[in-house]
Point group: C2
Chain length 273, copies 2
């Protein structure tokens, strides 16, 4: 199975290269959208993290906090990395992703070297149906709520929703802002820390489960990568704790195929009306 | 009761003023330490957020993400605010806190105007004993584990631990990385969004509950402020989801005295050995 080169959709779409003059550049792929030409925030974070690790002595993003200033257009972007303190354990940097309209994302990145140490404590994976018993978003594009376009993202990230959290797809929103799904890349590319950054924002908005379909633009997103994920499907759970005044949080936990917690994220987003 | 002026300990310790030349400066108060002269990370975030709102059209910090580059010394610091996009709903900025040794904290701040809209959904407050039935950290300084100095912070932030999560103070750690406490300023200063930033990092490390007392230095911390807190005690809960390889997360939820969820935070820290 192809890994870590540009023969997989994810590696090609997040590739970062050094331009003449030494600056880092990338080409944002329009296929990683969440509808309406808006690129997924997690996808953008994976591109930024590639730039961060290129300029770091450490290979893995372990904490990444992003402010989404505005939605960048697909196409060429520049990635400016300002290195901060770096040591044996971790390194800090500040990365800005800019398109022709100016800065779109500013990101504080902490990189480190994740090993293979076992967990001393790990929040257990919830009990969910098998992948085969779950609801394939890509195979049910025609079931999207009226006005909601199924995103390109869902063709590239195979997303199998736990039926218990997928009632909204059948016109019966649960009223509880929780979504759970098995997730992996559609072309079989195995998960790694960079992939987890995309998975950490790849579920539909939790507001779908509240009967409010619509875009929930991310304002700030923090992702923590806690371990190197094992090959196979990841279980991704998103949960909101407070919805009010036009604001919603989304809190993710991600477990790998062995049941280990490998990533967490939290974002503040504007709630769809 | 004194509010929003420098007659309260919190307002005096977090005051930010404009120096000659126009830059923002503050004097970090050595009394807000977590032991060993190390200042509390939430306290530092409150100082930074004061600088952010001074330079913003909006009065409230709603999302604040900080990278802790190194522990700043008490005493004079400079606060550099680089404004980002600002609109009717929210404004972004990047704030750097520097002491004589250079940058210590870089913070992405999103400010907005929180109103009095009721919750559409709110994660319920857990069932806990009353303040009077809880364990006062300040009144039991002598019970601190050997080698652990009770921090100045705990004299300024009145912290009443739910006994169910305070076994470690009696040599009986629960083995579950969860702490819960009622919290308010010792001088009766009422909570507000700036105060919630301090509360969002003011519990002892969850590793205490695992039988590992010791300092857990914060690497990155994100705090979301979700509503204006009502007067009175706040309930603060911290929980870790994964401890491994020398890393630990701490995930906070904070409810106000009416039971409304008013803040959330998540940090990645180095785990005490």
């Amino acid at each position: 199975m192809p890994q870590d080169d540009q023969t997989t959709a994810f590696d090609a779409a997040t590739a970062v290269r050094r331009a003449e003059g030494g600056g880092l550049v990338a080409d944002l792929d329009p296929g990683w959208d969440v509808g309406g030409g808006i690129l997924n925030g997690g996808y953008l974070l994976s591109v930024v993290a590639r730039a961060a690790v290129l300029e770091s002595p450490h290979p893995h993003p372990v904490a990444v906090s992003a402010s989404y200033l505005r939605a960048p257009a697909a196409g060429p972007v520049a990635l400016t990395v300002v290195p901060g303190p770096a040591g044996r354990t971790l390194a800090h940097s500040l990365v800005t992703l800019s398109d022709t309209g100016g800065p779109a994302l500013t990101v504080q990145a902490t990189t480190a070297t994740l090993g293979s140490t076992p967990s001393e404590y790990s929040h257990p994976m919830p009990d969910v149906p098998s992948v085969e018993e779950c609801f394939s978003v890509a195979e049910h594009r025609d079931l999207a709520p009226p006005g909601v376009q199924v995103p390109g993202l869902s063709l590239r990230v195979d997303t199998r929703l736990d039926i218990a959290t997928a009632g909204w797809a059948f016109g019966r929103p649960s009223g509880e802002p929780v979504l759970r799904a098995w997730m992996r890349f559609a072309d079989g590319r195995e998960p790694d820390p960079l992939a987890l950054l995309t998975f950490a924002d790849a579920l539909p908005p939790t507001s779908f489960a509240m009967g409010n379909p619509g875009w929930a633009p991310t304002v700030q997103l923090q992702v923590l990568v806690r371990a190197l994920p094992a090959p196979g499907w990841c279980l991704v759970e998103a949960r909101s704790s407070e919805i009010s005044g036009g604001w919603v949080d989304e809190d993710y936990r991600i477990w790998d195929s062995t049941g280990r917690l490998v990533a967490q994220s939290r974002q503040l987003a504007r709630a769809p009306r």
